[in-house]
Amino acid sequence: MAEFLAMGGYAWYVWPAYGVTAIVLIANLLLPLRHRRHLLRQLRTIARQRTHNGRP
């Protein structure tokens, strides 16, 4: 395992490359999901306010 992590002495190049890639790829999936959830909540609040105000 230690040998695997050492990457033949290139650990400081290989793992940062994989680490940043993982962060960027995961952020690309999470941000749009969060944005949509946020938007749905916002639209629902607007719709509720409109029914309270008695407008269709």
Binding site: G8, V14, P32, R36, L39, L40, A47
Partner: protein
């Protein structure tokens, strides 16, 4: 509004089933529902491809006789670089479709693709730099391959800045499409740069299909990672497009219905 819709579906039905299917796919509520159903499946496939590709690339593939273990950066560098160009093609083509046929969904796909493509380009540059330092002794050189890939990043960022600067989405889509189409000239420059100019960057290893200069045990994980990146693009694109559709259709009747139902 409803009149023109009936007109549309009538004329498209008359023009044949393919045309009708195309029109249906282009309708925001239909695409929203379809993509919602497909998204989890693409997500599972994507995770599987990443698991297999990473295991093959980091564990099973042998050490390179020249570059040692540092070559393992190839499993993210090359797929990211391929996708940086592929997504740009999608951006230009969907931009063109939006420009010519005013197809709303194509405009949305173009708009949603830009940040994803920009992040692949960023990753290609970053991982290339982290690979270049131990192999070439430098993080960066101003040679043709690296410079044209950097220009690709600026094209993406310029496109995104343009989208953010123009409030009307449809105007923004048209302006962006022109920029994207002009920028297509950069793609062949990136691809052939290693042949046209002398460079530190190594030549093509995989796309010489007659005789790829890479061992099969190294090639298979690379292709798996390329598949994983492509699926990642599909998943993040669908997720982004759903948000964009919801946002731009917020006053439409089907969105109101959706809000009541869920």
């Amino acid at each position: 509004m409803s009149e023109s819709q009936t007109d549309d579906s009538l004329s498209s039905a008359r023009r044949g089933p393919w045309r009708a299917a195309f029109h249906r796919l282009g309708s925001p509520p239909f695409f929203y529902r379809l993509s919602g159903r497909l998204l989890p499946w693409f997500g599972i496939l994507c995770a599987l491809a990443f698991a297999a590709g990473l295991y093959g690339g980091l564990v099973l593939a042998p050490t390179d006789y020249q570059q040692g273990e540092s070559y393992r950066i190839i499993y993210i560098h090359v797929p990211a670089a391929w996708m940086s160009m592929f997504v740009y093609m999608v951006l230009a083509i969907t931009g063109g479709i939006g420009l010519i046929w005013r197809m709303k969904l194509a405009e949305v796909v173009a708009r949603a693709s830009a940040p994803i493509g920009a992040s692949y380009t960023f990753l290609a540059l970053l991982t290339g730099s982290l690979w270049g330092k131990p192999m070439w002794g430098t993080w960066w050189v101003w040679d043709a391959r690296l410079t044209s890939e950097l220009i690709l990043l600026f094209l993406y960022l310029g496109y995104m800045a343009l989208q953010a600067a123009i409030d009307d989405r449809r105007t923004a889509a048209r302006a962006g499409a022109v920029l994207a189409l002009v920028g297509v000239i950069n793609l062949p420059i990136i691809h052939y740069s290693v042949e046209w100019w002398s460079t530190l960057h190594q030549g093509p290893t995989v796309t010489k299909f007659d005789q790829p200069s890479i061992a099969l045990s190294m090639l298979v994980p690379l292709l798996l990672m390329a598949l994983a990146f492509k699926l990642h693009y599909v998943v993040s694109l669908l997720a982004r497009v759903r948000g964009e559709i919801l946002d731009s259709e917020r006053r439409a009747a089907w969105v109101e219905k959706l809000l009541v139902e869920s």
